[in-house]
């Protein structure tokens, strides 16, 4: 009898596999060992290139490549159709995707078509004693962890937050890349992409040191950015700064932006709104600088500095420059 399978969606961007997909492969491999299941990476596109081999090195026992020129770039409806058919044929036990914009767009639609359960933005994955996938989701401003199982159908689906698991190089025996020519007869997509503007930003969730600017230092953004540069840190911003268009969404920290996993984070002028807090929950050391002694941010900080940031920043710039 064939072994049961854990499938992992391999998101392309477009020349590489997204880190989150490789991170999930690593965790899936551990779960596979625990429950005697094999790990299969699933990728869609025009040509597999060498991406299949990269997945095999990161924990996949096998890669399935769904090939069609229509699948070169992502579309909700074409990708859903292609995945729905192959999943229905092979029926994996588990199907995991990254909780990225694309992964979340796809997972909702696909799970509804498959009539199966989907758990969102998962921060922990395990197999319980009955063999079900146990997906951990923080709730209510990260005060609780709800562990969720999908009991009624297969595959059990979850989207996994980037930066939670670490990608690992795993020595393999001989994995294969199975290429399936789909020969799709025209696109079913009703949404047309007119234009796209994408910049390559370093992924904040993996930065070791981050300096965050909030509303309180809106007027000093340039100085905060300069400071990040001097101290070898990445710049992050709170939601209001991104909302006002003063910084890219790619720099936004919080529940609707990045969740950081930094060793050290320095936070200037952020009030500590509930949507911000999950973004720093996994950081090792948090230093906050805020004028308001009563600010909520201090509840979630290791070092609380009640001060005018515009006085502190020039000193830090001077000291940093002297090094």
């Amino acid at each position: 009898m064939n072994r049961k399978e854990i499938w992992v969606y391999l998101e392309r961007n477009p020349e590489e596999i997204e880190d989150v997909s490789l991170e999930i492969l690593g965790r899936a491999k551990e779960l596979g060992k625990k429950s005697d299941m094999s790990v299969v990476g699933v990728m869609l596109g025009k040509e597999p290139g060498n991406l299949g081999d990269i997945a095999l090195k990161h924990g996949a026992d096998k890669v399935i490549f769904l090939k069609d020129s229509l699948l070169e770039s992502y579309s909700t409806e074409d990708y859903t159709k292609a995945l729905f058919e192959i999943i229905n044929k092979r029926m994996p036990e588990i199907f995991l995707l990254g909780a990225t914009y694309q992964g979340r767009d796809l997972a909702g639609r696909l799970s509804a078509r498959l009539r199966t359960g989907l758990t969102a933005n998962v921060v922990s994955l395990d197999i319980d004693t009955d063999g079900y996938l146990l997906s951990g989701v923080p709730g209510y401003g990260s005060k609780v962890l709800a562990e969720i199982i999908c009991v009624r159908n297969k595959p059990q689906m979850s989207t996994v937050r980037p930066g939670i698991f670490s990608k690992k190089l795993i020595p393999i025996k001989a994995g294969i890349v199975e290429v399936l020519d789909l020969d799709l007869q025209g696109s079913v997509s009703r949404v047309r992409v007119v234009s796209r503007k994408v910049e390559k930003h370093p992924d904040l969730s993996r930065a070791e040191k981050v300096i965050i600017a909030g509303n309180g230092v809106e007027g000093n953004l340039d100085m905060v950015a300069k400071m990040a540069d001097i101290f070898g840190a990445r710049l992050g911003v709170s939601r209001p700064i991104a909302d006002k268009g003063k910084a890219s969404r790619e720099l936004q920290v919080g529940s609707t932006g990045y969740s950081l996993n930094a060793k050290l984070v320095l936070i200037f002028g952020v009030s500590g709104a509930e949507h911000f807090l999950p973004g720093i929950a996994n950081c090792q050391t948090v230093i906050s600088i805020n004028m308001d002694r009563e600010s909520d941010i201090f509840e979630y900080s290791d070092y609380c500095v009640v001060a005018d940031a515009s006085k502190i920043i020039p000193i830090l710039l001077r000291e940093g420059g002297d090094r």
Binding site: G108, A120, V305
Partner: protein
């Protein structure tokens, strides 16, 4: 323009919610509620679309009867109608059962061009309903949208993707999820609020008013269950106060920065 339906959830304010390790449940007593923030942005956007293109804005929510007072705030903002799906059978729904119930209600409302949802709610935070709803209604979906332009039957939207954005278009009807914070929701109009409180009557639909099998709603229509709730331990913060002059405070920060190389 035909109906613009805005899915609106009433959520507890998270800062009021606390976990009770004894009972392993959330303590809700004395908790304040509000319209989910991203849903407010969706309501504001729907009103802007209506001002330009006509149509009616209909709020659609699912939950207990006390949601009424919050939906009336949406009416006072300018929505034309509000419908509350309320039935004990609907309780305990996961995102799929929620979507199935909302889909049945949207079919019953009918005659619509747009369904708007906030990108996600502050309590569940899954963001799954918009795309599950789109699938169940067989509509095109555009998620994480920040700008919308309606021209005849053509819809153009700016949506966030990794590293930037796309301009996408489709025909209508379509489903959009609206990014949190894309606009400044207007305040409820005082006169309209008074009218809403006195004269507006909320439409309430129970399971029997919808064309959906009861077993497809609530707990029985859900595919996922919460196996257990545990306290989520992240790092315990030390909350050390760094006092002194700006110079002394900055020196302490430098010291920590140097520790981390």
């Amino acid at each position: 323009m035909r109906n613009i339906i805005v899915c609106t959830k009433i959520v507890p304010k998270a800062e009021d919610m606390n976990f009770d390790p004894e009972t392993k449940t959330m303590k809700r007593s004395g908790v304040e509620n509000q319209i989910n923030e991203a849903d407010k942005n969706a309501i504001e956007l729907s009103l802007k679309i209506k001002e330009k293109n006509g149509g009616r804005v209909v709020l659609l929510s699912m939950g207990p009867p006390f949601f009424e007072q919050y939906l009336k705030i949406g009416i006072a903002m300018g929505a034309d109608d509000a419908i509350l799906l309320s039935d004990r059978l609907f309780a305990g729904a996961d995102t799929f059962a929620t979507s199935a119930t909302l889909a049945a209600a949207i079919r019953k409302i009918g005659d619509y061009d747009l369904v708007l949802c906030g990108e996600e709610t502050s309590d569940g935070g899954t963001g799954q309903v918009p795309s599950q709803l789109a699938e169940l209604l067989d509509l095109p979906q555009m998620l994480f949208v920040s700008e919308v332009d309606v021209d005849g039957n053509n819809l153009k939207a700016k949506r966030t993707i990794k590293g930037g954005y796309e301009i996408v278009e489709s025909g209508m009807p379509a489903i959009l999820s609206i990014e949190l914070g894309i606009n400044q929701p207007r305040f409820p109009d005082f006169k309209r609020k008074r009218w809403a409180d006195k004269e507006f009557s909320l439409t309430i639909w129970s399971a029997s008013s919808l064309e959906i099998k009861p077993e497809l709603t609530g707990t029985s229509g859900s595919y996922t269950i919460v196996k257990r709730l545990t306290e989520y331990f992240t790092h315990q913060r030390q909350r050390i106060s760094v006092e002194g002059t700006a110079e002394q405070q900055a020196n302490k920060i430098m010291e920590i920065l140097r520790e981390y190389g």
